[in-house]
């Protein structure tokens, strides 16, 4: 839920609550005010009637000043004066219906010593409709106020949060591997300005750390090349010694093997670092069909010797826009992978069209999750010599060049599909 929606919902909910509470309080208060007015009028009337009655001692033909219905009854002499005001219902012969009234009952004694009961009725029809009218008017104004407040709040919030959403947009698009700094725009709102500055500083720090880490990786791999060169050259000299025993030569052979693996490992890591460091930016239209044909040609002899059948269906002149070296490394690694992990008398099938490059090969059933094969240093126990970087490099190149790769294994058939 968006922040704006959330605040608006809260706003409306609380306003509604206040609305109900206000309504509940408003009705009795309104009623109280009007009843006090009515009761005052009733008492004034009663006083006038009483005045007349006290001295004339006859039931007067009295006309109400306030439009009350007045009824005077002569009765027994009461012991004391009693006044009582209450709500009651009176039968109206005109409408043949009961009508709600305010009723004042007053028991008095005239100067002649007779007891009289005065009833004064005030019909409440008008009053009730007045209460309803006032109530509706107030509620209407109140609602209008709430709607206005919610709307104003909504528009203000929307305006105020604009810089925040802009920052969010920038952050979503930002990649730490890219070369430009984040550079969020300044905002006139203090909090957002601070947020942007903090994010700028933080991303700058992360980016610098990331860059130096990448550079470190590359430099470390690079610096290892020279000691490796020295070791190799000294070994080359050492094995020329005529006096070496069989045993010593065998040990030197193992050293050679280890050095070669280390050197290849190092070259693989260096290549990955270089891709990460954007050193293969230059892209051109590469004729992938040609690259694949050349690579297959290079591997023809090996495949023949390993008795691996190679089928290919390569549409000519399929060009894609990518770095030429990476294209060559990619195809070469894919084919190497298919050859190395193949089984004797197995097969490799390569298909290329304008949408995808698919390479399938026979091999042993997969024991791990297909996706995990793209990790670094993944290798099967069969290929002791492999350093396990081949598919990691493939994945790096594929992602770097904006393509997609999928690995599927179906028992003994492994398929890598790269979609452009």
């Amino acid at each position: 839920m968006k922040l704006l929606t959330k605040t608006t919902v809260y706003y409306i909910a609380f306003s509604f609550l206040a609305f109900i509470i206000g309504g509940v309080i408003l009705y009795p208060v309104l009623k109280g005010i009007l009843y006090r007015e009515i009761d005052e009028n009733l008492v004034t009337e009663q006083l006038l009637v009483e005045e007349t009655l006290r001295y004339s001692d006859t039931i007067p033909d009295y006309h109400s000043v306030f439009g009350h219905m007045i009824e005077v009854q002569r009765g027994v002499k009461p012991s004391k004066y009693v006044m009582n005001i209450q709500d009651t219902a009176v039968y109206d012969p005109e409408t043949r219906d009961l009508i709600a009234c305010r009723h004042l009952q007053y028991i008095m004694i005239s100067s002649a010593g007779h007891g009289y009961t005065i009833h004064i009725y005030k019909p409440l029809q008008r009053t009730q409709s007045t209460i309803v009218e006032i109530f509706i008017t107030v509620i209407f104004l109140f609602s209008l106020l709430i709607i206005l407040l919610v709307a104003v709040n909504y528009f203000i919030s929307r305006r105020v949060w604009i810089p925040f959403y802009r920052t969010l947009g920038h952050l979503a698009e930002y990649k730490i591997a890219q070369n430009e700094a984040l550079a969020l725009p300044d905002s006139s709102i203090y909090e957002f300005r601070m947020l942007n500055r903090t994010l700028d500083a933080m991303s700058g720090k992360i980016r610098a750390d990331y860059q130096s880490l990448k550079e470190f990786n590359e430099n470390a791999a690079h610096e290892l090349q020279t000691p490796l060169a020295i070791i190799t050259s000294k070994l080359d000299l050492l094995i020329q010694d005529e006096n070496l025993t069989q045993d010593q030569l065998e040990k030197l052979g193992s050293v050679y093997e280890a050095i070669r693996r280390m050197s290849r490992l190092n070259q693989g890591l260096l290549l990955i670092s270089k891709i990460e460091n954007n050193q293969f930016q230059a892209s051109e239209q590469v004729d992938l069909s040609e690259v694949i044909r050349k690579t297959l040609n290079n591997f023809r002899e090996i495949c023949e010797e390993k008795k691996i059948r190679v089928d290919s269906s390569i549409r000519p002149e399929i060009t894609i826009s990518m770095n030429r070296i990476l294209a060559e490394v990619l195809v070469s690694n894919l084919v190497t992978n298919a050859v190395v992990h193949n089984i004797p008398e197995g097969w490799i099938r390569i298909d290329l069209d304008h949408a995808a490059l698919t390479i399938s090969n026979t091999g042993l059933p997969l024991k791990v999750e297909p996706e995990s094969l793209f990790g670094r240093f993944r290798k099967s126990e069969r290929s002791r010599d492999s350093v396990g970087l081949g598919l990691a490099i493939v994945k790096k190149i594929v992602l770097f060049s904006g393509m997609k790769i999928r690995y599927t294994a179906n028992e003994s058939v492994h398929t890598l599909k790269i979609t452009f």
Binding site: L228, A229, D236, I239, G253, Q279, I302
Partner: protein
């Protein structure tokens, strides 16, 4: 044959010098750019090996100077940077070859010999070893005067052996020379064994001797002292 190694890693430079000197070749070392410039002004070399990253300058500048002075020396760049830009730059300004560290001395030797041969005789010369005769230009091989029909790999193998004759060659270096470094080694050793077997057989068939000796655990040696 006179070779200059311009390399600031003394151990590496000395190893290269030692390897070349075994062949009775003159090989000198320069450990920085100044020293190299001095030596290049004083003497003529058939081939120079230049490291690009020198403490007091770039090896590429040395190559540019040489080319400006129109000195026709074979130039091989040996660099730890396996970067295509460096490679293209180096080859563009006139280097003949580019070798990335780490490399095998036998591979370096083969490349130096091939460049010197191309330079001195415009590639028209022959390589002769006992009864074996190779015309590199036409890739023709004969043993005792009889032409031998070799496959491309067998031919490469033979020339590599001849460039490094009388030396023990480790099988990794041979395999890399033949197939590059994208091969699974276990496979390539097997192929190598077959190719050597076939090459030996073809030479023997035409009346040649068996010069290829297996050095157990390491690789092979091609030498005239037939076992």
């Amino acid at each position: 044959m006179k070779i200059l190694v311009i390399e600031d890693e003394k151990e590496l430079a000395q190893a290269i010098r030692e390897y070349f000197r075994k062949d009775d070749q003159v090989c000198e070392c320069a450990f920085n750019r100044d020293e190299a410039t001095e030596k290049l002004n004083l003497y003529d070399y058939d081939c120079i090996l230049v490291d690009i990253g020198l403490p007091d300058g770039s090896g590429l500048d040395i190559i540019r100077d040489l080319k400006n002075q129109q000195v026709d020396t074979g130039i091989i760049i040996i660099s730890a940077r396996n970067s295509l830009d460096d490679k293209i730059d180096g080859l563009n300004i006139g280097a003949d070859d580019y070798l990335t560290k780490p490399f095998y001395l036998s591979e370096l030797n083969a490349r130096v010999k091939s460049i010197i041969r191309r330079k001195s005789f415009s590639g028209g010369n022959e390589i002769v070893f006992e009864e074996i005769r190779i015309i590199p230009d036409q890739m023709v091989v004969s043993v005792c005067g009889h032409p031998v029909d070799l496959t491309r790999k067998e031919y490469d193998l033979l020339t590599y052996f001849l460039a490094n004759k009388n030396r023990v060659l480790n099988k990794e270096s041979i395999a890399e020379h033949l197939w590059g470094d994208n091969m699974d080694m276990a496979d390539s050793f097997e192929f190598l064994y077959n190719h050597i077997k076939n090459l030996r057989k073809k030479i023997l068939e035409k009346g040649g001797k068996n010069y290829i000796r297996t050095v157990y655990g390491i690789g092979y040696k091609f030498s005239s002292s037939v076992s």
